[in-house]
Subunit: 337 residues, 2 copies
DNA sequence: AAAAACTTTTGCAACGTTGCAACTGCAAAC
DNA sequence: GTTTGCAGTTGCAACGTTGCAAAAGTTTTT
């Protein structure tokens, strides 16, 4: 559609304006350090004057570098506000670099490798951010095999190590359980949504460990099928309330599930903070909005996004994976005393 | 990083394999219709055999076409789950086309035109999807001026028309108010978050209209500052409850605000469904999760995303803007009877 | 049997960039 | 006064694609 008159400036424009050769201009603009300072200044000035911006297609064709980071998103998996916060973080970091952010949506119905295959086929990114990472995630295996730089949000259990950022599940569970103990609870239920991620596995195994360590009456309850659908999670709350040995402390990894369970318990006259306490991983302001006195453990997804982008760019620039493994620390939000 | 051996196939590979010229192969692969069927089959077969995928940089350099759609996202504005659903919709539609989805995050602190200027400077997309559109949105003006195809999620009030998809504010307000009337409510409050969008303006003006038409006791209350922060919205609920003439029907456009107001009213012993009713625009499952009997009016953001992508691609392909204006219809979710 | 008309295929140049090998000056060394 | 060395600059080719004008091949018309 209508291109506003004047052609855009290329290296050639700048070369003609300065009387230098294409090569010199190109070199200079990329900081060629055996050029005369005078020359560099001249090029710099001319480039600014004509508003030169490198043509990405030209660069990409010549160098193979796309200057694109691909974010592989499970578009139909809903952890409230996950997508927005992650993108906010990545976006904030990517801003000011040469990189663009490209989103490759993934669907539960599509082939697990569809997204990464697509990226490889089209050579459409210099690096990939994977979300929803599972213990033996085939996408991770694929990317390692293909030699495409990537960082996963979530650890795996592969021998070969790779760049990742993961929420510190152990720290989260420890904080949550200790908090419940502190408020006098001893019959602790882990009602966490098993979304197939390594992070869930770690939460569960650490829960079992700490419960044993502290000699608590611990229990892992609620299947994914139960907890990931609001109505069923609410029914699960009803079940809990009906039990003679109802747990008095609940640890949850998902806000929507927590809300449903609380509502279910409330339906049966079980009051949060009186009959039981619940500590949930917090990603939004919903929980504190509804229950201002509730304790939560927050995951800073904006920070995670920014860090993921940073790790990936380092990786693209050749950093060693051993240096690119981060555990994102949970943030205590104890409201009451 | 390590390129798995074999070079990737290009047109040249296919040309050599078939014994045809580059031009013929190129033409054929793009459906050149004055080629012999036999030739086309041969090319087709060879291309498949070597796994030919067009090099995007090559195409882009030659034709100027990027095959990228840019989604401009207000990354720090939080309408729960908006980002994910929109991306899911866009992604689902874009899947199977030649287009990629690129996300340009926008921040409240950044210059309003930063995102669109960036897109123009880098020629980084064939078309743009704008979100959070305001009545005289400078980004819309900019894109029209620059002649870049775009579609806005939300109408504007510019003379010159452009492609858009907007939630039908009038239909939403009508449905909500009529429902409240039907449940016997007459003192109606519009407590909608003024996020600066045209959509908010339309909601407000239509509310005033219908309230006058029906001879209701209507009121517009709650500033953006009050309603967009959970604690303040809750306090707003307290204020409402303290009034002698407390409204008995509330219309809300934002789930988080609705939750906070309900909580605030609840703090003061005002019970939803007994002392008052509330109808909210619904984008997630939170409201029905917490209040299964609550009436809502749903906005299907996944469908909106898909439609936005469709409109934009049509626009890029030269369709007239007059054909590309859509009002997304609200979906009634009357739970009780 | 040659000319005309049509169908099918091709060579070439260009899009904007960068890396390399080679070139130009010019001062220092012999 | 020639050679060597070095800093600074340049020409060329290539990355993969497509559009155009022209060539080659085939059929129809005269």
């Amino acid at each position: 559609m209508a291109d506003r008159g004047e052609k855009r400036a290329t290296l050639k424009t700048v070369a003609e304006l300065t009387g230098l050769s294409l090569s010199t201009v190109s070199l200079s603009l990329r900081g060629g350090n055996n050029l005369k300072q005078e020359t560099r200044d001249k090029v710099e000035a001319a480039a600014r004057q004509v508003g030169y911006v490198p043509n990405r297609a030209g660069v990409r064709l010549r160098t193979g570098r796309t200057n694109v980071l691909a974010l592989v998103l499970a578009a139909d998996v809903n952890v409230l506000d996950y997508t927005r916060q992650l993108i906010q973080g990545i976006g904030a970091h990517v801003q000011g670099t040469a990189f663009h952010l490209s989103v490759i949506p993934e669907f539960q119905t599509s082939h697990p490798l569809a997204s990464v295959r697509y990226i490889l086929e089209n050579r459409s990114a210099d690096g990939v951010i994977l979300t929803n990472t599972s213990a033996r995630d085939p996408r991770v295996a694929f990317l390692m095999e293909a030699g495409i730089p990537f960082v996963s949000h979530g650890r795996t259990k592969f021998e070969r190590s790779h760049a990742y950022l993961d929420f510190d599940a152990e720290a989260f569970v420890d904080l949550a359980v200790m908090r419940l103990i502190q408020t006098g609870r001893r019959k602790i239920l882990l009602a966490a949504v098993d979304n197939g991620t390594t992070n869930y596995e770690l939460i569960e195994s650490d829960f079992r460990r700490i419960v044993a360590d502290k000699g608590l009456d611990g229990e892992v309850g609620g299947s994914a099928a139960q907890l990931s659908v609001a109505a069923r999670a609410r029914a699960f709350g009803h079940e809990l309330a009906a039990r003679r040995d109802m747990p008095d402390g609940i640890v949850c990894n998902n806000e929507l599930a927590a809300l449903s369970i609380i509502s279910g318990l409330q339906d049966k006259a079980m009051v949060l903070g009186r009959d039981y306490d619940l500590v949930c991983k917090q990603n939004t302001e919903i929980l504190p909005t509804l229950y201002p006195k509730m304790d939560t453990v927050a995951e800073d997804l904006v920070a995670s996004g920014a860090r993921l982008a940073e790790l990936l760019i380092d990786r693209v620039d050749g950093a060693e994976v051993a240096q690119l493994q981060v555990l994102q620390q949970p943030i205590m939000r104890w409201r009451s005393t």
